[in-house]
């Protein structure tokens, strides 16, 4: 028995041990000899080509620089598809070929950088790991005979699309640029909005094989205390072969892994990210993903659109109230309908009740089954519309409208009232400005329908109570998910159900922006010039 446990212990240790085949890390014994360049050019080239192995696109070009007897052999190694060939030719090859006089002391990397190369983004590396890593990212590696250092010139071609408009977070008024798949473009878009030295951009890397670049951005001195360290420790904890999209990271670093709610906000709009950074939050930008993550996330943030701040405040406030109503409709629409027609007919005015009953006559299903059929077909329709090639979009909308709406009613399979309710919930769920929240509501609708069918309104209330209990218990990186509603911070209600005028939003949100509470000067309300004409502009206090 004991031996079994010993064996089990060994087995577990074996299973959880780090893979041993990995390359040696800096500091390990033997690292220097095996993994750094020697001064023998041919040996270096051989090792690099061996490391890359069967890579057809690895180019090795040898040439000689200088004139006469003092010529020195060099080699340029790069991955062909990643390189910008114009820049390779002008910034490197041309420069190397036109070198006339080599220094009498012998060629050094410093001399090359200072006198020969015109391209600025040059770094020196010694170890093969770093060199191959840079080549993989699109650098050209310059090896020189007799030197145990390599020069890496970053000549990567920008691959991917240009900056385009947002796909899911549309606005009618506001900036129309969105993040794309190139992290450097994304950082540029952000820097374009925050011209301050306080904007920190830290590099994190995820994925043993993909080595995806992840940039942590925040405003120094404004960000929540301890947040940056917490994000870094959670990101560094990730040991995974590859990250293809930011959604994968989101699942790995969010709190309450089993919650239906997405506890981190994501956005494809640089203006939204910039505004959130200004409130003391932090962001993660990913290479190859047009979606940035905002940490910490709150429910209130997910039901707001950046446009709310660009429209006039009274209109934004009205839209926000409308959005809350739409949220409730999307969540409770079908279940309220089921509850009323199954249990609480007396709640409807008599004439309305008569109308509904007449249309429901001949429908062979109880309310729940009818609602489930309609809701499920709507979900399928929605998913189909998303996956179909654009040219088929027309077909789907016709099939959906005619078959599910008109035909289901005239065939007596569904009542017109139910069709209206289902359509209304579908439209209402599109009003929610962020995708994750909208998806959560879509799923939550079904348990509410079941509760309504079993207990009527009481079931809905119980379900809603459980939902709010759950929401109250959620925290995202220490910030309550439901803040500022619960725990209530009264001052922050100015930016929840309504939006106060910009000149009234004097303070940052209490929980996230406490390090620099004041956002602007007080008393910025525009005033007409005073009647006497003396004070044209009100003086700052």
């Amino acid at each position: 028995m004991i031996s079994f446990f010993r064996w089990l212990g060994k087995f577990l240790k074996h299973m959880t041990a780090e893979p041993t085949g990995a390359l040696l890390k800096p500091g390990d014994p033997g690292y220097q000899e095996v993994h750094t360049l020697s001064s023998n050019l041919d040996k270096n080239i051989k090792i690099i080509t061996e490391i890359f192995g069967l890579c057809d696109d690895l180019m090795v070009r040898g040439l000689k620089i200088g004139r006469g007897k003092k010529q020195v052999r060099v080699a340029v190694i790069y991955l062909d598809p990643l390189i910008n060939h114009t820049r390779l030719q002008q910034g490197l090859m041309h420069c190397l070929q036109t070198i006339d006089h080599l220094p009498s002391m012998g060629v050094t990397t410093e001399w090359l950088i200072n006198n020969a190369l015109s391209d600025g983004r040059v770094i020196e590396k010694k170890s093969f790991v770093e060199i191959t890593d840079e080549i993989n990212r699109g650098a050209a590696c310059l090896l020189i005979e007799g030197l145990d250092q390599a020069l890496l010139i970053r000549l990567a071609e920008k691959i991917g699309r240009a900056v385009e408009g947002p796909v899911t977070e549309n606005v009618s008024k506001g900036a129309l640029d969105a993040f794309n798949e190139d992290v450097r473009t994304n950082i540029a878009l952000l820097r374009k909005r925050l011209h301050t030295t306080r904007l920190a951009v830290e590099n994190l890397q995820i994925g043993e094989l993909t080595k995806t670049e992840v940039k942590l951005v925040y405003l120094k001195g404004y960000v929540i205390e301890g947040l940056v360290d917490e994000i870094k420790s959670r990101v560094r904890r990730i040991r995974i072969d590859g990250i293809v999209d930011s959604g994968q990271v989101e699942e790995l670093i969010q709190d309450s892994a089993f919650s239906l709610f997405s506890l981190l906000d994501s956005t494809e709009r640089p203006d939204k990210l910039a505004a959130n950074l200004l409130e003391g939050k932090a962001g993660l930008l990913f290479d190859n993903t047009p979606i940035a993550i905002i940490i910490p996330g709150t429910l209130i943030n997910q039901i707001q659109s950046p446009e709310d701040y660009y429209q006039r405040y009274w209109f934004s406030s009205w839209i926000r109230v409308l959005r809350w109503l739409a949220l409730l409709t999307a969540l409770l629409g079908p279940s309220l309908w089921i509850a009323i027609i199954t249990f609480h007919q007396e709640l409807l005015p008599t004439e309305l009740l008569m109308t509904i009953l007449v249309t429901r006559e001949g429908v062979p299903f109880p309310g729940l089954v009818e609602a489930l059929i309609m809701e499920l077909s709507l979900e399928v329709l929605r998913e189909a519309g998303l996956r179909l090639p654009q040219t088929f979009g027309q077909t789907i909308s016709i099939v959906g409208a005619v078959v599910l709406g008109q035909a289901a009613v005239s065939a007596g399979l569904a009542s017109p009232g139910m069709v209206i309710v289902v359509a209304l919930t579908a439209i209402a769920s599109f009003v929610i400005p962020t995708q994750p929240l909208s998806n959560t509501i879509r799923i939550l609708r079904f348990p509410f329908m079941l509760l309504a069918a079993s207990f009527g309104l009481i079931g809905i209330i119980v379900g809603f109570s459980i939902l709010t209990y759950h929401l109250c218990s959620l925290r995202s990186y220490g910030i309550p998910f439901l803040s500022p509603l619960a725990p209530l911070s009264f001052g922050d209600l100015k930016d929840t159900f309504i939006r106060a005028p910009i000149w009234k939003m004097l303070f940052r949100p209490r929980l996230t922006g406490y390090r620099e509470p004041q956002r602007q000067n007080p008393d910025q309300r525009p005033h007409p010039p005073s009647r006497k004409g003396k004070k044209f502009i009100r003086r700052r206090k």
Binding site: F343, H344, E346, L347, P349, L451, F455, G456, L457, I458, G459, I461, V462, F464, S465, I466, T468, Y469, H470, C472, S473, P480, L482, L485, A486, P487, L488
Partner: protein
């Protein structure tokens, strides 16, 4: 302390209000009007005085042991075995009170809405919703309450606003016809509801700023007195002093009475929504106290283990002892006025006395 949560003084205040008013506004007016008649809207204010006494005693006791709940420090005051026994008694009291609340809620739903749904099923889902909150801790209950509260107060005021035109001032006259004594006697009935401020014994340790406890308690007593007074006054104003006696839930009838423009009708739904949201929080507070008390008595490290047994227990008690509505109203109007003050005031006061004599705990 088994729950590591922290609540603010405002949260405590709101919790106390909901823990008392959520059932009182539905059940108390009918029986008070039966005893006192047209002056019964005064009783909540007079009962607030007894509430204040309970609060003072409980706070004095709780302050001696600021980091522990009542059932935790009982053995330190009374000695191990008597202390444990009293802690067990209080566990039973909390479970019993929870089952009364449970019964009240299912009875109300039964009368108002679902006449064919088995009451056990209703009690199970309401109970499950509440113990989910308890499972998540006192902090979550307090936050939930912050969300429920506006809904709750708003719907009361909407109802009273909409019936305001039907209020007949003559229903309040003559004022204090038989002197003040019947009002004081009648307030005894309210006192037991008002005495539910004794939950402070179980909630005080979670308060983050201990010095604000008096503020919370006093605001709570005032707010609840005003709320209950207004509700009772509205009932009397609309129905007079005779009809409400025969009503089970006068406030529900009040909401049914509303008819605005022949469209805003039958909004008693508001009452049910408000009541249910409130009662789930109220039940959660009592379940929380019961679970903590039970865990202390049994010496458990995790109070969450006791939740399901307590839920089962409350449902059984509620079904066995208060199976019909008469026994519930009998309990509320004839037993609770005596039983309430004993557990809310007399026993804590005696414990406080012993603690003072034996010099147990820190100075109050």
């Amino acid at each position: 302390m088994l729950d590591r949560g922290r609540i603010s003084s405002v949260q405590l205040f709101l919790l106390l209000v909901i823990a008392e008013a959520a059932t009182a506004f539905l059940y108390a007016p009918s029986s008070v009007i039966k005893m006192v008649g047209r002056d019964s809207w005064l009783t909540p204010f007079i009962a607030a005085i007894s509430g204040l006494v309970v609060a003072v005693v409980c706070i004095a006791l709780a302050k001696r042991f600021p980091q522990q709940v009542f059932t935790e420090y009982l053995p330190q005051i009374l000695g191990k075995i008597p202390g444990k026994i009293l802690a067990g008694v209080y566990t039973a009291v909390f479970i019993h009170l929870s089952s009364v609340i449970m019964n009240q809620s299912s009875a109300f739903i039964h009368v108002a809405f679902l006449r064919e749904t088995p009451l056990v099923a209703l009690e199970i889902i309401i109970g499950l919703a509440s113990i989910y909150g308890v499972y998540l801790g006192i902090e979550v209950i307090a936050r939930q309450n912050e969300l429920v509260w506006p809904v709750w107060v708003l719907s009361i005021f909407i109802i009273i606003l909409l019936v305001a035109e039907s209020i007949n001032p003559d229903n309040f006259r003559p004022f204090l016809e038989k002197g003040i004594m019947p009002v004081i006697k009648g307030s005894a009935l309210f006192s037991s509801f008002r005495g539910e401020v004794f939950l402070l014994l179980m909630l005080y340790p979670y308060l983050n700023k201990k010095e604000d406890v008096y503020k919370s308690a006093v605001y709570h007593l005032l707010t609840t007195a005003v709320l209950l007074g207004i509700i009772t006054a509205a009932i009397i104003g609309v129905f007079g002093e005779l009809i409400p006696v025969y009503m089970v839930f006068p406030i529900y009838n009040l909401a049914r009475y509303i008819s605005l423009a022949r469209f805003v009708e039958r909004i008693q739904i508001l009452i049910v929504v408000m009541w249910m949201f409130g009662v789930i929080v109220k039940l959660a507070v009592f379940y929380h106290s019961a679970a903590i008390a039970a865990a202390n008595t049994l010496g458990l490290k995790n109070y969450r283990l006791t939740l399901l047994p307590i839920l089962a227990g409350t449902i059984i008690i509620s079904r066995l002892f208060y199976g019909d509505h008469l026994s519930l109203t009998h309990f509320l109007s004839h037993i609770f006025p005596y039983y309430g003050p004993v557990v809310e005031l007399v026993i804590p006061a005696l414990v406080l006395l012993i603690a003072v004599i034996l010099k147990k705990g820190g100075k109050s």
